[in-house]
């Protein structure tokens, strides 16, 4: 019990004293997951809108793929990205400049994009398909181009789209398996909240682990609070 109290006290002190090691990790986490979420939003929102609103052959198949993607175990995503990027993997040997190197921030971002994008697509799909299907036809009849009508429907579904983003963020910021595998938890380079907590716990630095854990908890809580707020407002 003493360990917990001491850890809590020391964790809080580190947090508010602006401990450089702790804050470096917090900021890197925010950076990696922020970039990944932005990319996932840019990919996932338009895709989700198209799948949710249009009818094309193979739509059911694509939906099944998206739902499968929503349930991907992050560790498997990590493994796939690892195999893709490693020296004797699929893309690794090509050495092209735009292919991320293993154990770098871009590799972690890639893994998180793969985890979050299906979630953003899936939630966006659900949100837009809850909008009255006659609305789109009505807007087209009022002279909207397909793009303008889609935009208006997305606006109608905006609460659901925000929930999609918040859900995507929640899934990557708290994820540990994939970032460990493709990031490698390198100090000052790829060490993020979740991987640092694992490491510091193992090292016996409970105060640091608890401080980091509190940040993660606070983040998760804020994310969920935001989500509840937005979902409640739709009612």
């Amino acid at each position: 019990m003493d360990v917990v109290w001491a850890g809590l006290k020391e964790g809080l002190r580190l947090l508010f004293a602006g401990d450089p090691y702790l804050w470096e990790i917090v900021l890197l986490s925010a950076q990696v997951s922020g970039i990944a979420l932005t990319i996932s939003a840019l990919l996932g929102i338009p895709f989700g809108a198209i799948i949710g609103l249009t009818h094309f052959p193979g739509r059911r198949f694509v939906q099944a793929l998206v739902y499968t993607g929503m349930g991907f175990p992050p560790v498997v995503v990590g493994l796939a990205v690892y195999l893709l990027l490693s020296r004797n993997g699929i893309l690794g040997p090509l050495n092209w400049a735009w292919i991320p190197q293993l154990f770098t921030v871009p590799a972690m971002v890639l893994a998180q994009v793969i985890i979050a994008t299906p979630l953003v697509i899936g939630y966006t799909m659900a949100a837009v398909s809850e909008v009255d299907p006659n609305l789109r036809l009505q807007l087209r009849a009022l002279g909207a181009t397909p793009r303008q009508a889609t935009w208006a429907v997305l606006r109608e579904a905006r609460l659901g789209v925000i929930v999609a983003l918040v859900g995507g963020l929640g899934s990557i910021v708290s994820e540990v398996g994939a970032v460990t595998m493709v990031g490698g938890n390198i100090e000052h380079a790829t060490r993020v909240l979740t991987t640092a907590i694992m490491l510091e716990t193992r090292r016996g630095n409970m105060d640091l682990a608890i401080g980091l854990g509190m940040v993660l908890l606070a983040l998760a809580f804020m994310v969920n609070l935001l989500m509840a707020q937005f979902q409640g407002r739709g009612k």
Partner: protein
């Protein structure tokens, strides 16, 4: 005879292999009110979607102002001459104002405030300008739907059972505005209704559609008083079971 706006020639529309509309010939003239009557499932709404270029024939020619309309080559400006008010008003979850201004916004028109105000006043909606659309009654919502069509000053106004399920007060306002629009501004109106009395009150010509085909087209007087086809007579007299 005045200018022909629409010419339909052997127009067929299919859904999942089933032909739901098969119009061998139909002309619609500029400035008229044409009623389309028929039982439900006759293809009336499908016809309106074609007339608003929201869907396209699978076969045959749909000609608007002399141009054969095809999916890929439809000029936006031409498409925007026509608009529809549907049976159920699908409003944006926003204020009445935003709903009415929507069609102007998508056209890039920024100075439509005066026009929006005028239209809202005309439909008795001025007091509701800043109300949320979802808080409106059915009649008010349908008047908003009509307002956002009127503000566009369409060449053709398509109405798909616009007053079904409305109370007489709202029916009165809507019919009055539609008649006035046609008489004073020469707007061409195609009115789908299964209310023969409404067709009689508003239309100069009537089309009777049954199972996707036109049974009879006539001026309103003869259509109601001396229909040629026995099926038209049965429908007009309310004897058709559907």
């Amino acid at each position: 005879m005045s200018e022909i706006l629409y010419e339909l020639r052997e127009v067929h529309k299919r859904y999942t292999g089933r032909t739901v509309l098969q119009v061998s010939t139909l002309d619609i003239y500029r400035g008229e009110v044409l009623a389309i009557v028929g039982p439900s499932g006759a293809g009336k709404s499908t016809l309106l979607r074609l007339l608003n270029f929201l869907e396209f024939p699978d076969y045959g020619d749909l000609i608007y102002r002399g141009k054969v309309i095809q999916p890929g080559t439809m000029p936006l400006a031409l498409r925007r001459e026509v608009t529809t008010v549907f049976q159920r008003p699908a409003l944006l979850s926003a204020t009445v104002w935003r709903n009415v201004v929507y069609g102007l916004r998508v056209r890039g028109i920024r100075n439509g405030a005066r026009a929006v105000q005028a239209v809202l006043a005309r439909l008795g909606l001025a007091a509701l300008t800043h109300a949320q659309a979802r808080a409106l009654s059915g009649g008010e919502a349908q008047r908003v739907a009509l307002a956002r069509a009127l503000v566009l000053q369409p060449t053709v106004l398509l109405l798909d059972e616009p007053t079904a399920n409305l109370d007489p007060y709202n029916v009165g306002i809507i019919e009055q505005v539609v008649a006035d629009l046609n008489q004073t501004q020469g707007v061409t109106v195609v009115l789908v209704t299964h209310n023969v009395f409404q067709a009689r009150r508003l239309a100069q010509r009537v089309v009777f559609l049954l199972n996707g085909t036109i049974v009879e087209v006539a001026s309103a007087g003869p259509f109601f008083e001396s229909p040629r086809d026995p099926r038209t007579a049965a429908f007009v007299n309310g004897e058709m079971v559907y």
